[in-house]
């Protein structure tokens, strides 16, 4: 079997009486697109939060690229190559699209204690940012204030920022949420171009997106992963059908 990039063991997180993560074991193989699906409230975003370093697990361990990163905070994990997008769009709204991406480039180049030279004049930041912006289809929108971009474009911008950090693993929390059909198709095809090049963990409610992108799928219910497998395996899994797909074949629309 291929190399495991991300290994989660016994991850648990409790919020009061709610066990949001219940001894989760998860292996993400280098190069795969691994979708995590499940009904609302299953604990998917809590899992992403712990993987990204925003939430501290109560128990369990996370290994990334052979290192135990359980105690690392979000910026450190990002610098190790773990990039993310947020469920609710999170961008620097009062900066231009290009600035947003250039900031992500800068965050990974170091040299933040430079006080004199204008960061906007630095080709070392602007050119890689421009390349990434082009690659997600926002090349013509570089100078637009991020707040003024359309919703779909803002989601693309988030992907661009994640890509600009040259990640080894991309955590995507509902990248097509709130999008119209056309926008969501554009996003799915964008993610399709990344598939195979970058390892992706994809949390998504849109089953069309999931089944067209995922190599493997893990199904979460009540904080537990009840099944992991290829899309056909998951589709035919009796437990999954009962717990999830059977109740509502197109959840979360």
């Amino acid at each position: 079997m291929a190399e495991t990039l991300l290994a989660v063991r016994g991850l648990s997180k409790r919020f009061g009486g709610l066990l949001a993560s219940d001894r989760i074991d998860l292996d993400v193989v280098r190069g795969e697109t691994h979708a995590i699906i499940g009904p609302n409230g299953a604990g998917k975003t809590t899992l992403i939060g712990q993987l990204a370093g925003d939430l501290r697990p109560d128990a369990g361990a996370i290994r990334f690229a052979g290192r135990d990163v359980t105690g690392f905070d979000a910026p450190l994990r990002s610098r190790l190559g773990l990039a993310r997008s947020f469920q609710i769009t999170s961008i620097f709204r009062d900066f231009s699209a290009l600035d947003n991406v250039a900031l992500a480039v800068q965050a990974h180049r170091g040299g933040n204690f430079r006080f004199w030279r204008s960061a906007r004049d630095e080709r070392a930041l602007r050119e890689p940012a421009r390349v990434v912006l082009d690659s997600v289809g926002l090349g013509t929108r570089a100078g637009v204030l991020a707040a003024h971009l359309a919703h779909g474009e803002q989601r693309q911008l988030e992907i661009a920022m994640a890509l600009a950090t040259e990640p080894r693993l991309l955590l995507l929390d509902e990248p097509v949420a709130g999008m119209g059909l056309e926008e969501s198709q554009r996003m799915v095809s964008l993610l399709g171009t990344l598939k195979g090049r970058i390892t992706i963990v994809l949390v998504e409610h849109d089953m069309d997106a999931v089944f067209s992108l995922a190599d493997r799928i893990s199904v979460m219910v009540y904080g537990r992963i009840i099944a992991t497998g290829t899309p056909p395996e998951v589709r035919s899994n009796e437990q999954v059908r009962r717990a999830y797909l059977g109740e509502d074949a197109t959840p979360g629309c």
């Binding site: 910026p75 900066f95 204690f113 430079r114 004199w116 950090t165």
Partner: protein, 315 residues
Amino acid sequence: MAIAQRTIVLGVAGLLLALVPPIAALTNQPFYVDLFRRMMIFAIAAVSLDLILGYGGMVSFGHAAYLGIGAYAVGIPAFHGIDNGFLQWSLAIVASALTALVMGAISLRTSGVYFIMITLAFAQMLYYLGISLETYGGDNGMRLAARSKFGGPIDLDRPMVFYYVVLAILVLFLVLGGRLVESRFGMVIRAAKSNEPRARAIGFSPFRYKLTAFVVAGSAGGLAGALLANQTEYLTPEFMHWTRSGEIMFMVILGGMGTLVGPVIGAVVLLLLEDVLSALTAHWQIILGPLLVLVVLFAKRGLFGLLLGTASRDG
């Protein structure tokens, strides 16, 4: 285009300020040299607050603390007969920087209201420390024994010379500040202000950059304090009172947060209004208060924003 406009405003403002002493001399109104020098000293303090408030989103309500530290760093050595300006002003900067380091290291672990309260509490602590310094006049304060001495042509006892020293420091600080906020370092603190979770998610650890900005702002505030002691030739714990911190913040907001030049305008306008209105009535704050409300409501970028016609620029 906005850059060019900015440069024009900056150039015109600088020129006007440079022309104050000759005009005051021609019209035989030496009082204005004093007034405008005072404005520029507060402008330095306001610009330094703008660095962290306007660009870093750090609502520090204790900025007057540095004015006091800077003033005492001049006054206490002078009291003991040490009047070397280089020494006094260095002491003002270093002591303020260290205070900012401690204040920032603690307060920057919090945010929002807690941050405001901690910075306020620190400044009040220093205010009461000032009151307890019986040797140096306690709550009455004391006269400055002598203005800082630099030797050569830099004689602060000559009003014009002192004036141009302050103007030079202000201009230098505006230029340095302008570079700083556009630099990589500046982009980090602005990004953290704009969206801290996002800044963290792309790999910035904002704390150390914010702390550095906090220390830079504190140092400049300390230098303003050293100038203020020389200006008033008197120092009192009142320099550190929280109402003084509020006044500096008022200047920043009135002039335009996150613009650097705005706080200069804010300092000039506020002190001018104070001067004019207090001649009319003892209750001049009654007029000043509504004015600030209007500025906050209708000019997000303050007076500077109105000047540029970009009041609603940011989102």
